[in-house]
Symmetry: D2
Subunit: 113 residues, 4 copies
């Protein structure tokens, strides 16, 4: 991951794009790229999304690439390691959704209202 982050830094510096890359702007960029990922899935059934034909899969692979680049870029600017942040959040989620309450229940992890 660190080698990839370095390549992203070089890519941006060569293009003098760092001036545009405030965390606010990179969060927008991340959301825009996730929008493109959603577009690939929006008219598929859940079952179809589990068995993507090759062309669709290639398109999804590209969008996941874009999302990952934006996320690493944003986290790098904030000095946050996304894997560490994910590990910390996973521990919090274990407390929030204890197995005996959450088992098999989707409603346990979407708040209403």
């Amino acid at each position: 991951m660190h080698e990839l982050i370095q390549r992203i830094r070089d890519f941006n510096r060569e293009r003098d794009w760092e001036q545009f890359h405030s965390p606010k702007n990179l969060a927008m960029c991340l959301a825009a790229e996730v929008g493109e990922l959603l577009e690939q899935f929006q008219w598929l059934t859940e079952q179809q999304s589990r068995n993507l034909p090759p062309e669709r899969r290639a398109a999804v692979d590209e969008e996941i690439g874009d999302v990952t680049i934006c996320l690493l870029n944003l986290a790098d600017k904030l000095g946050i390691d996304p894997l560490d942040a994910a590990g910390r959040k996973l521990e919090k989620n274990k407390l929030k959704y204890p197995v005996h309450k959450a088992k098999g229940r989707a409603d346990k992890y979407t708040e209403l209202g």
Copy 2:
């Protein structure tokens, strides 16, 4: 990263949540989490987003954790390595935005219309 993916798998299996985790649903989950990240930045100036006070920074750290969990979960279900996908996309972006055309120009990477 692979150890974290294993922990995410265990977390989901223990709660019997895999049944809800079609790629379509996980893409929605990713977008919903990115929405929460946007919420943290929406009223800040770009400058403020570069210097987050500790409480805001802790909130952003949590949201980046959630986004990363969703992204790893989605990529895992699709059998895609997000770092490899990002590396491939970065090479494509080098061709799409050559340095001599893109240097210092934000308009070069947002298409109009």
Copy 3:
């Protein structure tokens, strides 16, 4: 609609919030609210989403309210009438997706890659 826009203007002016309401920020706000709407649907099947139980429906109603407020606020700041914009786009879409090509085909309206 015009009466509602006036109420939104009054709401914002009373709170002195117009200073935060650049179109850029309002677009982020719209995306954050749409994220909350997604959250309501993410673990439902398509069929469940067609028959929401009363509590879920009330939560969706609130999120649609938030999304509409943000959209009207944004469009108002830009001097764009969203219904006129939608009417214009619908005419463009008729040309982009002619009936004889698009009939019954979801793939006709998601571009690949």
Copy 4:
């Protein structure tokens, strides 16, 4: 608005696209279109977003059109009037953000953590 909703219904029926238009899918579509709107604003300063040049403004107008079509389509499928929902939510927001507490404070309407 009701005439526009009727035109959207006709557009969809002529293309036999209603089969894809579960509320879940339409919420994804709305999020994808909002992603395209974000893309137009992501590298602009707040000040630039207040004074869009004509080409950018035309692109934003189209995206607002798409967002509005998706929102009306979704609300129509759910039997929700988006303007009524917005009016109800505005009244709730008045109680949630009383003037004397919220005046001039952006932090009053973004929750931390």
